[in-house]
């Protein structure tokens, strides 16, 4: 039973860490655009940077 002296505070600390993380992510606006966030995760980041010259007008995909 002595192990509970370690385990219970540890479990609470982990839960608290989760809560702090949630509050931080809420404050930094990560729940403002859930739809966009879902797509950002799978967007290709390694495409070459766009040319400095404006490209020709393109239609919508």
């Amino acid at each position: 039973m002595e192990v509970m002296i370690i385990l219970v505070p540890l479990a609470l600390a982990l839960g608290l860490a989760g809560l702090v993380g949630f509050l931080w992510s809420l404050k930094s606006g990560q729940y403002e655009d859930l739809e966009g966030a879902a797509w950002r995760a799978i967007a290709d980041d390694d495409e070459p940077a766009p040319p400095a010259q404006p490209e020709a007008a393109a239609g919508r995909p």
Binding site: M1, V8, A11, L12, G15, L16, G18, L19, F22, L23, L26, Y31, E32, D33, L34, E35, G36, W39, R40, I42, A43, D44, A49, P50, P51, A52, P54, E55, A57, A58, G59, R60, P61
Partner: protein
């Protein structure tokens, strides 16, 4: 004259040399658009942040001060293929976003506490039947208290505040029993823990708050999202005015930046954005959006023009008498206020349910305590049983019953092209059994259409369309659009107030007034045949043709009207337009009941008359003259092309050219109301089963917690059924 665009009204100074602007963007629908826009805008020099919000369809931009004109971003987005417009968040929207964030924060805290208290409760429950030492149980109970008390104090704020407000004004709402239940359960649990009892109720109290917060958050989020999209659409309608900044210099500014006394320029084909008086110029004005009258009204020096009217033929200078918020006619505002007050007495389903619920629950709990005391139990045991009753009747299934259905139904409506302005609109819409349509702009399309395209030879039509591209006149644009013309003719000359002419293959062609094209005879014959249509003539050498142009009916109007009638809904037209025009539309749509030439006050009188006979009226209209009747009706709907005021007044707004969303909205609302009622009965049924058990004192916290969660989950699953309705109205594209 050089036109500049001045959007400085929307630019915010962030400090540290940075500026910020929000843009509403049309057509952003996927991740591809998001990446394209962000790359395209970040490539501009000095832009420090370009971030797309896919939920709200908006772009936030930051750039180094003084180097860039916001108009440049709009141009860049146009190059990429997106229409954009700067906008300012309405204050209501900002408040709601803040509230929604607060609810989510409360939900996070409550969920954290629930999980941890549960983690401590389960060993206690299982330990009570096995070999747990009383000291260990007390330790776990004290730990639960340390977690649950501060968490409940924080996460319960939305309920405590609302209950306090209700009590202060002498009412009881659903939050009152929630607060009493939570506070009593927590207080009693502390007492129990002191006395080394086997049970404490910390877990039940905090779980109740978590479930209720889920419902509250869903409810809030539905309204917030709709408001954001509606705000975008309002911005994309690009309400700008061309203002004189010097004696001969003009600048395009947002309407919000125009003040009374300013001088604005109104060119042919432009919609007036302000109220004012003409000081120079001569033209015709289409006031159909304001009065419903489709015939043009002449305008000259001294004529009053109103926001929403369309300038047809000549350029006007207008002295602004009222702008932005002040553009309404005083009597329309007065009628509107009266009508809105009358409607605010409507009570939502949730309120009606809680009005019954609160006293019943309290009485049951009090009687339980009293009963046990009379039966000889101690005060302590009696109160513990009373609390069990309060907890097991926890209104969380009741609290979730309505918002979950609303959220699911509003999402489904959104997909069928309907935006909700008010949460209780679904309930009111479902009850509607009589629909009144305005004609102009509602049953008909807001823009003009060529009606006799079949009578014109194809080559003539194509040529006329090309020539029409050189004119700003709205009737000419209708011809150009109908002919699908792309390439304007070189050397076309516009004769002000007459028409356009050009020479093709050595032959002169003209498009414009019948007199300009030598087609008076044709025109007078047509005037007898089809008196409501506007005409534009086209001549090639000595040949003459006549295009008949008018506002066409919405493509599926007849089908939708028939669908409404099949559902037992009566349909009626009330229009400010002339009798001949309304009669023709009513005949084409199979509507037997119609009135023409009615004023806003007449419309209200008719609605009141129907209301008195117990009919629930739905009003569908778009004009500024419809706004008071939209407010007076039981429920109201506007097309997205409607005047700003009407749109803000209507409970629902529909998108696109077909009328189908009107029928779809009714179907979804009826299904949703059915599910809301079903959910309420589920919640009641659960209580009927659980309460006797609680009163008899056999309910352990484990059973209470399981029953409570089970009923909540059942209600949520049932709400998901609101996504689908049977039949023709489910798709609108």
């Amino acid at each position: 004259m050089h036109v500049t665009r001045d959007f400085s009204h929307y630019v915010k100074d962030l400090g540290a040399g940075l500026n910020h602007i929000d843009l509403a963007v049309e057509g952003v629908s996927c991740a591809g658009c998001m990446a394209k826009i962000e790359r395209g805008l970040s490539a501009l020099p000095d832009v420090t942040l370009a971030r797309v919000n896919l939920t709200d369809r908006r772009v936030a931009l930051e750039w180094k001060q003084g180097t860039l004109d916001p108009a440049k971003f709009i141009d860049r987005l146009a190059e990429l293929g997106y229409k954009a417009y700067p906008f300012e968040k309405a204050s209501a929207e900002a408040t709601e976003a803040e509230e929604s964030r607060f609810l989510l924060r409360c939900l996070g805290v409550a969920a954290f506490a629930t999980m941890n208290v549960m983690m401590l409760s389960i060993p206690v429950w299982s330990g009570n039947v096995s070999d747990m030492l009383p000291e260990q149980r007390d330790f776990f109970h004290w730990l639960s208290a340390v977690i649950a008390l501060p968490a409940a104090a924080y996460a319960g704020q939305p309920f405590f505040r609302s209950a306090w407000r209700a009590l202060k004004s002498g009412n009881v709402n659903m939050d009152v029993p929630i607060c009493i239940g939570v506070i009593l359960a927590l207080g009693m649990s502390i007492v129990e823990t002191f006395h080394h009892a086997e049970h404490a109720y910390f877990d039940a109290a905090i779980m109740l708050l978590t479930f209720l917060l889920v419902g509250r958050y869903l409810d809030q989020n539905m309204r917030r999202r709709t408001r954001a999209v509606a705000g975008n659409l309002a911005a994309l309608k690009a309400e700008t005015a061309t203002k004189f900044v010097g004696s001969d210099e003009i600048s395009e500014v947002p309407v919000a930046a125009v003040r009374a006394g300013d001088l604005v320029l109104l060119r042919p084909g432009e919609r007036c954005a302000v109220d004012g008086v003409v000081v120079e110029g001569r033209s015709e004005i289409d006031q159909s959006l304001i009065t419903g009258e489709t015939l043009y009204v002449p305008a000259e020096q001294g004529t009053a023009v109103y926001a929403g009217s369309l300038n047809i033929s000549g350029t006007l200078r207008v002295r602004v008498s009222a702008a932005a918020e002040g553009t309404l006619l005083a009597d329309i505002t007065r009628l509107l206020d009266n009508a809105l007050q009358a409607r605010s007495r409507y009570m939502r389903l949730a309120d009606r349910a809680s009005r019954l619920y609160a006293p019943v629950v309290h009485a049951t709990a009090a009687l339980t305590v009293l009963g046990w005391v009379l039966a000889g139990a101690g005060w302590h045991d009696a109160i513990v049983t009373g609390i069990a009753v309060l907890i097991i009747t926890c209104p969380c299934a009741l609290g979730l019953a309505i918002p979950t259905v609303q959220t699911v139904a509003s999402g489904a409506m959104f997909k069928s092209g309907v935006l909700l302005n008010a949460g209780d609109a679904i309930e009111r819409l479902a009850e509607a059994d009589h629909v009144i349509f305005d004609k102009t702009g509602t049953l008909t399309l807001p823009e003009l259409e060529v009606v006799n395209a079949a009578d014109i030879p194809a080559d003539v039509f194509a040529l006329a369309g090309q020539l029409a591209l050189s004119s700003h006149h709205p009737v000419a644009s209708a011809v150009a659009q109908a002919a699908k013309a792309r390439s304007p003719l070189m050397g076309a000359v516009e004769e002000p107030g007459q028409g356009v002419r050009a020479v093709v293959d050595g032959v002169e062609i003209r498009l414009g007034r019948p007199s300009f094209c030598g087609a008076e005879a044709l025109a007078s014959r047509n005037a007898n045949l089809d008196p409501e249509a506007s005409v534009v003539a086209f001549s090639r050498g000595t040949e003459a043709f006549l295009f008949s142009v008018r506002q066409g009916l919405r493509p599926d109007a007849a089908k939708i009207i028939a669908g409404l009638q099949r559902r037992g809904i009566e349909v009626e037209i009330l229009s400010g337009d002339r009798e001949a025009a309304v009669a023709a539309a009513a005949k084409a749509l199979g509507i037997s009941e119609w009135r023409a030439g009615v004023t806003p006050a007449d419309k209200i009188a008719r609605i009141e008359e129907l209301k008195r006979s117990g009919v629930k009226v739905m009003m569908v209209g778009d004009g500024m003259n419809d706004a008071p009747s939209l407010a007076a009706a039981h429920v109201s709907m506007s097309p997205i092309s409607a005047a700003h005021l009407s749109q803000a007044t209507a409970d629902l707004v529909f998108l696109g050219r077909p009328l189908a969303p009107v029928l779809a909205a009714i179907d979804y609302a009826r299904k949703a109301l059915h599910l809301m009622r079903q959910n309420l009965w589920l919640a009641v049924g659960y209580n009927v089963l659980a309460v006797p058990l609680a009163i008899s004192g056999v309910v352990t916290p484990l059973i209470a917690a399981a029953a409570m969660s089970g009923s909540s989950i059942l209600v949520m699953l049932n709400a998901l059924r609101a996504r689908k309705v049977a039949g023709e109205a489910s798709s609108w594209k």
